[in-house]
């Protein structure tokens, strides 16, 4: 178990330049334990002095076998695994998965549940962007931003804890609606957050947007053209910073996103700074969406009344024999889905998060695959980093906003 297999030079011969053979350039290992790789990413760098000639990412250090493991669980139980995939966006992962299940079995979701889903998904987007902002600013040596960002993040996590009892891995969205209705203090807590957050974003911007040290580290670094970005499958803010307006909330609206009025921030430079600006603007747009959703939050049930797929409320179990049978069936053998496959994509904080779900007619998914945004966003790193310094590489990794759990699954 403790043996590390040495990779022979022949195996990676085709990935490095001829100069490496003669010893003109140096091969250097960065990671998997490195403070700036945002997790357990390993990069094999070919360096000419301090300049990156080739960058060969090696992933899989966090491969968890989630896709295989989900095949052995019922549809409801498998959802627990999705939280832990992209751990900066647990609610977004839940949302993608439950949307896929709902499409597979043809389940309706009440209006109130959809509005709450939107509010929580947008809060999650802000919290994810806050972690990104804090850590990527830390990478370019701006320490204090991290402390401010985590202060606001705690406020969001408190809201999650309020509704679900857990700070991160909530599993709050369920096929057909929500786990239960939000408690009474929810709207108040979200309003308080909406009140402080715009000023807090101003504070971050005051620290970074016009900071000459920050500009020096980010302007013109790691740029990519729109055409290349599309061909490399980039999504999310990384793609929008190159000038392609692709946002799943507009492209294929889900959970009623078509009712909300928001803009898709765009830049054309495609460098590290543009990605920073796009994400900052996205946070502001998310606040707009939350405000609209909160204003129109309708009353009513939060779970579908289709008892074949959604467990009955506790109160019914004591009085109705049928409800008891449904409850028992759902929690022992689960529900069966018709044979077929669906693909559903949502806009995660990092880009297109897709769920491919195939059913063989039984109560367990036959095959689950997640098309994750970080996977494609990291893939382009060799292209982005070529010719830049090692210190710039760190800024570039920070700017594409990868989560290793999202890549390896």
């Amino acid at each position: 178990m403790t043996d590390i297999k040495e990779v022979s030079y022949e195996e990676i011969r085709h990935l490095v330049s001829d100069r490496a053979l003669e010893g003109e350039t140096m091969l250097l290992n960065m990671g998997p334990q490195h403070p700036s790789t945002h997790g357990v990413l390993r990069l094999l760098l070919e360096l000419d002095g301090e300049k990156v000639v080739n960058c060969i990412p090696d992933v899989g250090f966090l491969h968890t076998g989630i896709e295989k493991n989900m095949e052995s669980k019922t549809y409801q139980k498998a959802e627990v695994m999705t939280d832990r995939m992209d751990y900066m966006n647990p609610l977004g992962n839940n949302l993608t998965y439950v949307l896929a299940v709902e499409k597979l079995v043809g389940l309706d979701v009440p209006e109130r549940a959809q509005a709450i889903r939107v509010i929580l998904a947008e809060l999650q987007r802000i919290s994810s962007h806050l972690v990104w902002l804090g850590t990527s600013a830390l990478d370019v040596a701006a320490m204090s931003v991290f402390l401010y960002c985590f202060r606001e993040r705690e406020q969001i996590l408190n809201i999650f804890e309020l509704v679900s009892g857990q700070r991160m891995m909530t599993t709050y969205f369920r096929p057909g609606g929500l786990w239960r209705d939000v408690p009474s203090g929810f709207e108040q807590a979200v309003r308080e957050f909406l009140e402080v957050m715009p000023h807090r974003i101003d504070e971050y911007e005051a620290l970074l947007t016009k900071n000459p040290l920050f500009l020096d580290r980010t302007l013109g670094i790691g740029s990519i053209s729109a055409e290349d970005a599309l061909n490399w499958g980039l999504t999310g803010a990384t793609l929008r910073a190159s000038g392609v307006s692709y946002d799943l909330r507009r492209f294929a609206p889900y959970s009623g996103y078509e009712q909300y009025d928001f803009e898709i921030p765009l830049r054309t430079e495609g460098d590290v700074y543009a990605r920073y600006i796009v994400r900052i603007l996205e946070m502001r747009q998310s606040l707009r969406i939350i405000e609209q959703a909160l204003r129109k939050l309708p009353a009513g049930p939060v779970r579908s009344s289709n008892r074949k797929f959604v467990p009955p409320p506790r109160s019914e179990i004591g009085t109705s024999m049928e409800a008891l049978i449904h409850h028992f069936k759902l929690w022992t053998e689960g529900f069966s889905a018709p044979q077929g496959s669906v693909y559903v994509a949502t806009e995660s904080p990092r880009g297109e998060l897709g769920c491919f779900l195939e059913s063989d007619g039984g109560p367990k998914p036959y095959r689950v695959h997640f098309r994750t945004p970080s996977f494609d966003n990291l893939q382009v790193l060799p292209k982005l980093s070529k010719g830049f310094l090692v210190a710039d590489l760190v800024a570039i990794i920070g700017s594409v906003d990868i989560v290793l759990g999202d890549i390896d699954r």
């Binding site: 178990m1 297999k5 990779v7 195996e11 085709h14 990935l15 992933v59 899989g60 491969h63 076998g65 896709e67 295989k68 493991n69 052995s72 499409k103 597979l104 043809g106 290349d228 599309l230 061909n231 490399w232 499958g233 392609v244 307006s245 692709y246 492209f251 294929a252 077929g340 496959s341 669906v342 693909y343 994509a345 297109e352 897709g354 491919f356 195939e358 036959y366 095959r367 695959h369 098309r371 996977f375 494609d376 893939q379 382009v380 390896d408």
Partner: protein, 172 residues
């Protein structure tokens, strides 16, 4: 309620590449024979305008052998707001298919992942190594005949009993 444009695209694709279609949950999937996928992808990219490969994965239908695998592709056309699903059956005996890397650059890692987890070879791929599993790993985990690798949880009352059964070298 498929848009007219998408159904035109699908019809032209089916005619040109001897494909068939399948319907499920309001979406149409085009099934294309394995030997024609590369030219079909070029057609999809250059003529139909789907410039974005959004998903590439595989499904294993073990113990069925012919075809054992299905590859699933999803292409997006951003200006037209359309998505196209394509499936390609692949035989279970020496599974291989040509790569799409030259058309869609991001197919590179997706194909490496499929190779790693399903053991499907991609002809003409520039760097076909394992992606997520260690380089010396045996087998392809996402195949249906590969065990999940479940380890029995040990409690105080059955600790000894399970310890005996456990493979050597694991927890003492």
């Amino acid at each position: 309620m498929m848009s007219e444009k998408l159904s035109q695209h699908i019809t032209s694709l089916v005619e040109k590449f001897e494909g068939t279609t399948a319907e499920f949950a309001g979406e149409t999937t085009v099934i294309i024979p394995a030997e024609r996928i590369e030219s079909a992808a070029r057609f999809i990219h250059d003529y139909l305008g789907f410039k974005f490969l959004s998903c590439l994965t595989a499904v294993d239908y073990y113990p069925q052998d012919e075809p054992r695998f299905h590859l699933f592709y999803r292409f997006n056309s951003i200006p037209e707001a359309l998505s196209l699903n394509v499936r390609v059956p692949v035989s279970g005996i020496n599974p291989s298919i040509s790569t799409l890397e030259k058309v869609y650059s991001n197919a590179n890692w997706h194909e490496r992942e499929v190779y790693d987890l399903f053991g499907i070879k991609f002809e003409g791929h520039s760097d076909l190594r394992r992606l997520v599993m260690p380089a010396d790993w045996q087998g392809h985990p996402l195949r249906k005949d590969y065990p999940l690798g479940y380890e029995e949880p040990q409690y105080t009352f059955n600790y000894e009993e399970i310890s005996v059964r456990k493979p050597k070298g694991s927890r003492e």
